[in-house]
């Protein structure tokens, strides 16, 4: 009996090994991607989670896109006009646009989608405040009429991140903006396989055979969104070592965000290739201006002077290939980046900081620095920052917690000793930082603004000026003024730029499009 059982066991293991080889061959029909995070929320208008935004780009299209040079290009729109007074915008949709269920895309779908987006997105709200009517002309064209000129209409409609204005079917877009949609009929290059949706395990998309791609080559979030594979599977892997093992074994084809600790191993593996499909991102130190001591701009400036970008970035990203110091509040290779950072050098200025603290009358009360110990992407920063702040003369209380607790804690407006906070760090993707009006922490409207709640009317005025600017030179100048104002008030400060690397199987995967956000069309698999 034992002999029989042993034989069966060996046979089973044999079958499993043979099947494993067969499965490796079968993989060529499907592109397997490890996304940056698990896809738990499917409505890209309801949340600002990056992974949900990327899911949005898989299955929905947008009226306009940003090309590889950051210029706005029509996407679902064929042609558009703006009246000489700048108040009336008319748009005509491309012919042949259809949803994945075969129904044509109409102006009614577009208007419902943009209306819903305008209720959720801060920039969308600004656009709708300036608008007097948004009506269809016929099933294929529509107009936007403004009370006052709103020169950034196209920038709004091509907004790549935060909440991007995706076009959905009217029935889904009519869902109240504070509720999540439950139907996922797309207008984009892929179809979401809801019947195979298994959050935490696998998210499946198939090619949308009814999608009509533009004739131009793919560029950024614009151009022809061609699909060269039958099926895309997002394989949810959270452990960095498991990701490395899986791609090395050929079980996945592409890792969207390379874990920094695996950089050396990936670089040394001849079967793998590292690429940078998005421009650099940005890490920031954010200060709470609502409560002491950073409600005093001098004390906020002293904290910013303590920053040692090189030390912080080295601790977090380990390898010098992965980061660059940069004193601009925008990524340094962004068209609006400015080298004029006033007193901020990115290098520690402890003596100057101590002098400022003395002048400002810092009372020595501990400043609470939030430390997200579980969040590997930024969890090396706080211990280094705490030490730098101490060297600058601050009394620091670094409080460890998980990321989920941190994002709850940062909503508390009470003083730090009553459950509030003083400082925390976070990171931004290039899609968030390319326009001062999209960049969430650039707010000066007090408690209505982003966490930290600075009150800075001059900053708000500069943003209004930016909105009205019509040419790039003017925008660049105002963006530089905004930067100086941020340092003057001590709103936040950059810790440096970092590269988003993707890892792919060399010779197997090609065609990744460079865009402000990670996009997965145009990819070929051999």
């Amino acid at each position: 009996m034992l002999k029989g059982l042993f034989t069966k066991l060996i046979l089973g293991v044999g079958i499993a090994c043979v099947f494993n080889a067969a499965q490796a061959q079968d993989a060529s029909k499907t592109l397997r991607i490890v996304p940056q995070a698990d896809l738990k929320i499917l409505d890209p208008i309801w949340t600002t989670a990056f992974v949900t935004r990327n899911h949005g780009y898989m299955i929905y299209d947008t009226l306009f896109g940003l090309d590889g040079e950051g210029k706005v290009q029509p996407q679902m729109v064929d042609t558009y006009t703006n009246s000489p007074d700048g108040l009336t915008w008319t748009f005509i949709l491309r012919k042949g646009l259809a949803f994945s269920n075969g129904k044509p895309v109409t102006s009614a779908d577009v208007i419902a989608s943009i209306n819903r987006w305008g209720k959720r997105d801060v920039f969308g709200q600004k656009m709708f405040e300036a608008m007097s009517s948004f009506e269809p002309i016929d099933s294929n064209s529509f107009t936007m009429i403004f009370k006052t000129p709103f020169p950034m209409v196209l920038d709004a409609l091509s907004k790549p991140s935060g909440i991007a204005p995706f076009i959905m079917e009217k029935s889904a877009a009519d869902t109240p903006a504070d509720k999540q949609i439950t139907e996922y009929i797309g207008s984009g290059p892929y179809v979401f396989k809801q019947d195979e949706y298994s959050p935490g395990a696998k998210i499946v998309y198939t090619k949308n055979t009814g999608y009509v791609a533009r004739s131009e080559p793919a560029s950024g979030t614009a151009g022809g969104k061609q699909v060269f594979v039958d099926r895309v599977e997002w394989v949810i892997l959270k452990d960095a070592q498991t990701m490395a093992n899986a791609i090395s074994n050929g079980e996945v084809d592409l890792i969207e965000w390379m874990p920094a600790e695996q950089y050396a191993a990936f670089k040394a593996d001849p079967k793998l290739e590292l690429v940078k499909p998005t421009p650099p991102g940005l890490f920031d130190l954010h200060l709470n201006h609502l409560v002491p001591p950073f409600n005093n701009p001098k004390i906020a400036q002293a904290a910013i002077m303590a920053i040692n970008q090189e030390a912080l970035l080295r601790a977090q990203l380990i390898n010098k290939d992965l980061y660059r110091t940069c004193t601009s509040i925008y990524p340094c290779d962004s068209p609006i980046a400015s080298a004029d950072a006033a007193y901020f050098t990115g290098k520690p200025q402890f003596e100057a900081a101590k002098k400022l603290l003395k002048q400002a009358g810092y009372d020595g009360k501990p400043v609470v620095l939030l430390y997200p110990a579980d969040f590997a992407v930024i969890n090396k920063f706080p211990p280094v920052m705490a030490q730098l702040l101490k060297q600058a003369g601050f009394n620091v209380d670094m409080q460890a917690m998980d990321w989920s607790s941190l994002i709850t804690r940062r909503t508390i407006k009470e003083p730090a000793d009553k459950g509030g906070w003083n400082l925390f760090m976070t990171g931004w993707s290039p899609g968030d930082t390319m326009n001062p009006l999209f960049f969430p922490p650039l707010t000066g409207n007090g408690e209505k603004g982003w966490f930290g709640w600075p009150t800075d009317p001059k900053l708000e005025q500069l943003k209004t000026d930016y909105l009205g600017a019509t040419d790039q030179a003017q925008r660049k100048k105002i963006a530089a003024d905004i930067q100086l104002q941020v340092y003057e008030t001590g709103i936040f400060a950059p810790l440096g730029n970092f590269d988003f690397y993707s890892v792919l199987r060399k010779g197997v995967v090609s065609g990744l499009v460079v865009a402000p956000v990670n996009v997965f069309w145009n990819i070929k698999k051999n």
């Binding site: 929320i41 600002t48 074994n249």
Partner: protein, 313 residues
Amino acid sequence: MFFFIIRRVLSTIPVLIIVAVIVFLMLRLTPGDPAASLVGNNGTSADIANIRASLGLDEALPVQFFKWSLHVLQGNLGESYYMKLPVTELIAQRIGPTLSLSVLTLLMTILIAVPLGVVAAWRHGGWLDRALMGFSVMGFSIPSFVIGYLLIWGVALHWQLLPVQGYAPLAKGLGPWLSHLILPAVTLSIIYLALIARVTRASVAEALSEDYIRTARSKGISELRVLTRHALANAAVPIVTVIGIGVGLLIGGVVVTETVYAIPGLGQLTVDAVLGRDFPLIQGITLFFSFVYVLINLLVDLSYLILDPRIRY
């Protein structure tokens, strides 16, 4: 025995109520807000407040608890804050991988550990006995994630015999199912092999020193029959007890193993739910695991009746 079973089943009700109250309160009293997690990094305080209201998190704790309890009594464990799917559906989606891994681990463990323990007791002090003791110490000492990574490195990456991650349901065939589960099951079974083999060895060794064994041998019964029919049968109660405890421990063990091998089971679902503060999901999974634990204990108690006719409830 019928009344014993009824009594034991009824006794699970207060256990589950206590678990439910403790989990509910612990989740609400620890820091972390699901609304803040849901909104993403770009969201504002106003967005968070709106989501809190839509989830009913701004209501008083007793009101929240009353509403949830009412749903549970109707067999409704609620809906995940994130995935907008019923908790029961999510548990059903994930139970397959965890059950497969647990059953395979348990089978492998029992089929290897019990014979090993019996032989070690039979050859007490011999090389096999000493080897088993050495293996036991090793099995207890090496963390399962280390064993997991070593197996992945050798079997999956170096020899490329088995996949490094993932799960294939049994519906896709025995081959795919086994190929994804062999390494995780081996990883998980090492510690239980060590535990059960040691207990078996000790129990059988004690039984082998009893008078009835000497009597059996003097009657000329074969050594195999002495070991299985007389020694093992009489040593079975402690072995079954430790297997029962092992099944309970397995629930914790699968969390680490599922993470190392990226198996989308209940362990990973639990970790995700805790990190995201998905209250209905955490509460649902905890209730489910508590129920399973109570059920296992009941089965172990009932098995005593079969294994030892002297035991009566």
